[in-house]
């Protein structure tokens, strides 16, 4: 028998053990009433993140509107009027 087999034999015996009885209903309900264990959400980090995202969105929107309303396609600047001059 090696250590693992001994362990498995111990587990087989341990499974027959009766765990101690508990009576937690009153205490658990008392804690629930007191609000203990309620998942808490921390507002401040979420608010900061939301504010930063909003600022970034406004900047992007402003740039997008500016580009959209530009009188000409900005890419036209890449094609100088060389051809016209040649004619």
């Amino acid at each position: 028998m090696d250590g693992l087999e001994a362990m498995e034999n111990l587990v087989r015996r341990a499974r027959l053990e009766q765990p101690p009885a508990t009576d937690v209903a009153a205490a658990a309900i008392g804690r629930i009433r007191a609000g203990a264990g309620r998942p808490t959400v921390r507002i401040l980090p979420l608010s900061l993140l939301a504010a930063a995202a909003a600022v970034a969105a406004v900047v992007v929107l402003a740039l997008a509107v500016q580009a959209w309303t530009a009188p000409a396609d900005p890419q036209t600047a890449l094609f100088p009027t060389v051809e016209v001059a040649a004619l």
Binding site: M1, G3, A6, L10, R13, I29, I32
Partner: protein, 212 residues
């Protein structure tokens, strides 16, 4: 009827029986359903009934995580407090006990992680029942297993505890803890290897009088 059709029909009947069995197994008990609905409506008495109904199962599972009486009682309380605040997430697609066991396992695992930061390992000194393997006192055997497993890291310890005590499969552990199957297999392998080394280092067989 040709043999192929008979085989097909037999398979179809087997499949239907399996689906029906799964459906029956996952049906939530009507009393539970009523108590859950009432608890969600704020009825404390209904939640107390739920606690009393499932407390033995949760307490038995929590006993795998700690053998300290006060910590055990607190752990069982923690489970039911968490159950209360998660009750609206219970979809009823599995028996309530399965869902409770999953929560209890996670609460117990968190407890181990907290304790492992405090580096608490149960002493192996009380491994003294020199009895034949089949005659060891269950409580002494439980204490010995607890002490040995406490030398493993929480993830490895959890995998072996669930496999040894609850006959959980790799799939069940993976689903319960949100781990991948490969991760569970690797942790089980490492846990067994470490456990073997610990048993050797601590002279487990000699202490138990099981040598020779």
């Amino acid at each position: 009827m040709p043999a192929a059709q008979r085989r097909f029909l037999g398979k179809a009947i087997q499949l239907a029986a399996g689906v029906l069995a799964m459906y029956n197994a996952s049906t939530v008990d009507e009393t539970d359903r009523q108590d859950i609905a009432a608890s969600l409506g704020g009825d404390e008495a209904a939640f107390a009934r739920l606690i009393r109904r499932y407390e033995p199962a949760v307490a038995a599972l929590a006993w795998r995580f700690t053998r300290d009486g006060a910590a055990h009682e607190e752990l069982v309380q923690d489970v039911f407090v968490e159950v209360y605040f998660s009750l609206d997430g219970y979809r009823g697609d599995a028996p309530l006990e399965h869902w409770l066991r999953r929560i209890a396992t996670r609460v117990g695992y968190r407890f181990w992680k907290r304790r492992s930061r405090e580096a608490r390992q149960a002493p192996l000194a009380d491994l003294d029942p020199p009895a034949a393997p089949g005659e060891t006192d269950p409580a002494a055997a439980g204490a010995a297993v607890h002490a040995l497993l406490s030398h493993l890291a929480p993830p490895e310890r959890l995998v072996l505890t669930l496999m040894y005590f609850d006959d959980c499969s790799v799939n069940e552990i993976a689903k319960s803890m949100g781990w991948t199957r490969a991760m569970v297999k690797m942790r089980a392998y490492r846990a067994r290897r470490r456990l073997k080394a610990i048993a050797q280092r601590e002279h487990l067989l000699e202490r138990l009088g099981w040598t020779g």
